[in-house]
Symmetry: C2
Subunit: 206 residues, 2 copies
């Protein structure tokens, strides 16, 4: 009655293991036999679920880009004011970086291995996600030039995405501690965009 449950579960399992392996050793550094072995089947068996190795990477990157963008938009829409929206964006991106480390790694590392059409789509989604951030940051710090805001947003992504590179000795034991630290660091960096005229409330018709 529910054949998609097993099939979908298998697909998701393959994607999860493929993401981990790609992040560890790079797209070209992982063979289909290894991906198959990671889910208990052998190499060519994967072709019952995906058109090829490229298709797995494409589905991973398109999926994460979509989720980042839609989650970001939702968080902004649910916030009452720009500072709250910025804080929500920061928290959301941190959750993503901590909970989906392999995907975050792939997201800014293996983009160039995609077919042209897929790469264009992913880039477009990424650009829209950056735009969500830039809009919010420009509202919170209206005095900052947009080009600076754009570079600062990328820099904060780099800051938050540094999580996957950490060895065990550098990670605070508690997940919440790490998230709180990253939030402080990110907001501290963005705070330097303040030129003395940060957001002080809604413009009441001026």
């Amino acid at each position: 009655m529910n054949p998609t449950k097993t099939a979908g579960g298998r697909r998701e399992q393959i994607l999860r293991e493929a993401a981990r392996l790609f992040a560890e050793r790079g797209f070209h550094g992982v063979g289909v036999d290894e991906i198959g072995a990671a889910v208990g089947i052998s190499g060519p068996g994967l072709y019952r679920h995906f058109a090829g190795k490229d298709a797995m990477l494409a589905e991973l990157l398109v999926g994460i880009s979509h989720r980042l963008l839609s989650a970001g938009r939702m968080r902004v829409a649910e916030s009452d004011n720009p500072p709250a929206a910025l804080d929500a964006l920061v928290r959301g991106h941190i959750d993503f970086a901590i909970d989906d480390r392999p995907l975050i790694t792939l997201h800014d590392r293996e983009l160039d291995r995609l077919r042209d059409s897929d790469r264009k789509l992913v880039r477009q989604l990424q650009r829209q996600y950056v735009e969500v951030w830039v809009d919010v940051v420009c509202q919170v710090y209206p005095g900052a030039p947009e080009v600076e805001v754009r570079a600062a947003v990328h820099a904060v992504f780099g800051l938050i995405n540094s999580t996957p590179h950490l060895g065990a000795r550098s990670i605070p034991a508690d997940r919440g501690d790490m998230a709180a630290l990253l939030r402080r660091l990110a907001l501290g960096a963005l705070g330097t965009l303040d030129d003395g005229l940060p957001w002080t409330g809604p413009r009441t018709g001026g």
Copy 2:
């Protein structure tokens, strides 16, 4: 009289192009023929200068790790006090990230493609470089727990190293503007480690 000039120049040229190509398409994504073509010779001709493709990557990563560490130590030694040392470290790392983008990219992306001995060496040099930063930051913000400082240092590396990912639309036109912005962001992030007792001068005996 100076045969090393031509030979050394050739080696350096090969390393520079290899670094660029590895950073663009990944170590496994670049063939020796492409590297050769980039310097005007063809594939196997490279083996007159390097033992193999692996040797090029190893020399690149060991070299950058050495330079980062020694430059960092020198800057700290030349500074009068911890805050000045921290600022010098930040500025030095930013210069590196802007001027040697491909190497910075390789440095935290292709480490796992090295032979065991080379990888151990690079990791050791990286660890020592982190230690230089951690020592200085702990002096500037004595109230911060070391594990937080360590994670914060990695995060600041991620922030500064975000430069290579930027497209043309996101980069301030002037190199100095970009460096100044990154410095502000980095110091702003680290400033959140302040718990009310930042560095106020040398401890004068107790």
